[in-house]
């Protein structure tokens, strides 16, 4: 069975001011397991999108609300869990965007979830008591 050696944690307020800090936190730890630059860049972007969605949608841009980011490794995977206490995301209500239609109709938004799904190997949305969790996995 795969084991988790270390779990790294970062707690920040939900604010775009912390975007760089959050991206750098995951990139720094992802680098230690020898992921390629491409993988690290994809993880940075997926985490940026997930954290931005929490700021915008879970907390509706209300500052000073907590977000906890956990990151760990198993023998074969890097996982990242981002938790908030805001309004939960309902994956069953989500429809993948039709890119050409969006361009034609000048529709905005909705691309973040699509990107996360494309960039990571597994994405799960969980409810843990009062917390919403998005758990993202990249295979090593």
């Amino acid at each position: 069975m795969a084991t988790t050696d270390n779990i790294h944690t970062l707690s920040v307020d939900a604010s775009t001011e912390h975007l760089s800090e959050v991206r750098d936190f995951v990139a720094t730890h992802a680098r230690t397991v020898g992921l390629s630059d491409k993988d690290i860049s994809e993880i940075r972007l997926a985490v940026d999108e997930a954290y931005t969605n929490i700021i915008k949608h879970a907390y509706k841009n209300t500052p000073s609300r907590p977000v906890r980011i956990e990151l760990g490794f198993t023998n074969s995977q890097l996982w990242i869990s981002i938790m908030d206490e805001g309004e939960g995301f309902k994956p069953e209500d989500y429809k993948a965007p039709n890119i050409s239609k969006r361009i034609k109709n000048k529709q905005r938004g909705g691309m973040g979830v699509f990107l996360i799904q494309k960039l990571m190997d597994q994405v799960q949305y969980n409810q843990k008591g009062p917390y919403n969790e998005i758990r993202m996995v990249k295979n090593l």
Binding site: S41, L45, K106, R108, F114, K118
Partner: protein, 113 residues
């Protein structure tokens, strides 16, 4: 994020720098495109050579720019996207939507043809 606008031959070159993530400069970018259209300058090249990061809001900004220019009878081509951004365009299937050129000169040449 910042950008500067210049003209080269008959094209308008918009050179982005840093992180493209939407925000207040997205408004300013849209305004600038409309000013260019009013001035009859509709052949735009977005140079991504100095872009270090782009998220979905940044993609939205460039997509919005393309739509604005196309609706005005113009075009928006992109150039010098690095491997990370190119991979992002592939993942989002936007690679087939944008005319992407390796260099600025190639993008300019494409408008001359």
């Amino acid at each position: 994020m910042s950008y500067k606008i210049s003209e080269k031959y008959n094209c308008v070159v918009i050179e982005f720098k840093g992180k493209i993530m939407g925000g207040p400069l997205a408004e300013s970018f849209r305004d600038d495109l409309h000013k260019l259209i009013e001035a009859g300058k509709k052949e735009v090249i977005v140079d991504l050579g100095k872009v270090t990061f782009m998220n979905s809001s940044g993609l939205g900004l460039i997509i919005g720019g393309l739509t604005t220019m196309k609706n005005a009878g113009g075009d928006l081509k992109i150039c010098q996207a690095d491997k990370r951004i190119e991979s992002l365009l592939m993942v989002t299937q936007l690679i087939s939507v944008f005319d992407h050129y390796r260099t600025l000169d190639e993008a300019i040449k494409a408008y001359e043809e």
